[in-house]
Symmetry: C2
Subunit: 306 residues, 2 copies
Amino acid sequence: MEQKLLDSKTIFKLRVLEELSKREVVDLDELSGELGVQATEISAIIDEMRKNYLIRVEDSSVIWLAGDNPSRIKPWGWSYIYKTIVGSTMHVAKRLPSWSIVVAEYQVHGYGRHGKEWISDLGGVWITFKFPLEEQIAQYLPIAIPVILCELFKEKFSVDAKIKWPNDIVVNRGKLAGIIIEGEYYKNRLHVYAGIGINVNNDPKLEKAVSLKNITGKLVPRNRIISYLSGVMGRIEKYIENYKKLQAQYLELLETLGRRVAVLVLGDGAITGKVIGVTETGDLVVDTGVEKVKLSSTEVYELKYL
Amino acid sequence: MEQKLLDSKTIFKLRVLEELSKREVVDLDELSGELGVQATEISAIIDEMRKNYLIRVEDSSVIWLAGDNPSRIKPWGWSYIYKTIVGSTMHVAKRLPSWSIVVAEYQVHGYGRHGKEWISDLGGVWITFKFPLEEQIAQYLPIAIPVILCELFKEKFSVDAKIKWPNDIVVNRGKLAGIIIEGEYYKNRLHVYAGIGINVNNDPKLEKAVSLKNITGKLVPRNRIISYLSGVMGRIEKYIENYKKLQAQYLELLETLGRRVAVLVLGDGAITGKVIGVTETGDLVVDTGVEKVKLSSTEVYELKYL
């Protein structure tokens, strides 16, 4: 396994969240004893955490706003697992039955498409949905989920996000969310893992990433996001039924359409050209000037705007 | 708070110990799901852990030998707290009533005398005893605890350890254990914190440190050590009663006696000379050639052999 260094502050912050997830209110002195650090140090840790969590201190008690505490909810119809620290939520879901949701505060080895590292710093929503789905419906997930996320951002936070093909959610200033979809056959049935990472109240370290907090200027109660997504993902088949409409929505949100791009194709080097369309199942159509090339998301390692 | 970097493997190992402390037997697949890492990665982690813990794998189940699992014991007469990761066991004990024991697998900010960093890597015994004690008895603790540790090593593991003044336990090859004693008055009564760090099955990174495993060539079930110490510390007053005998034992074990040393005295620079004795309460007597100097452990930052 690839080694990674975590700073001790992150560890202590996760321990604080763990204690806060067990009890409604935690005394500062109690926290100091649980973690084995001085009371003044705990105060400094909590102070820092307030940049990324809806946490407040009253009369030396620490209170985590229920709406931002993902351990507090039980999405209807799902088995719901909340963890502070994991390798990745995708791997936790692998061992769970279908109709499970896994949420973690921190992923040590979060990953995106093609195993690229996904940085999961404190305050974001890192979530995996596992559920059974017919193949002919599952093929539309890469189109449906980006649309669902854009609708979520628009409806709940008045944020106009766009799709960067195949399924990054972006605003002008950078990447707001990412999606990874995996599947597995068990007893002749397809089970889907939909991993979604959303920069919510975290402070993304990457230059080209941005969080909802950065955009809206305030902290967001994350359970609104988790509840919304749990509801929509629970009836995703209904959502995909009218895939003509879905596709139209996808194309309307797709900022990649019409752009000149450089595409790194696995095993085939780089292609440059203009994006002239997307097929029904989400393949990109690029006009290189010489020919029209169809590219699936599985073969595209990276796409850059020129 | 001083920042520190922890490697992600250590974090996963501590998560494994946490799961193992909850259940007798844990399935490898279950562990993989709990931690959110691939099954092959879990196997690699467990394999590595077997260098520092009495853990074995049977039919893809992980079993932690009860005698090495400190969460399994309840020392008689003590309130006993086991934790995988803490800032320091001393700080955990600060918030607990007297007659508490705190044991941790890993200390992020373990410290020794004068706040020097104490490295608490995986597989050691890092423990704090908190109990009330009369002052006139407490003053002999710095003499009693080193003797107790040397007796423990001799009786249980046939290891001849010596004392390096004031209270490091050493063998030829390096430091085997360290002691830190703090006190606190509460309702006119003295409460003592006796912090003991023993390199047991860990692999000390410092050149001048050595573990019981290094010396004996095999892993030691750590609960033997914790139980022994809990027993002796519970009747420490009896132990100190005959302090003449105790002092004789201390002097016999004190390898510092007769040695030429360089002593760094706080606020007073360095002194060199020959160690010619130790007073009843543990002060070092050094003959500098010009004069005889009495040095208390609180004013000595460091002592080196010449």
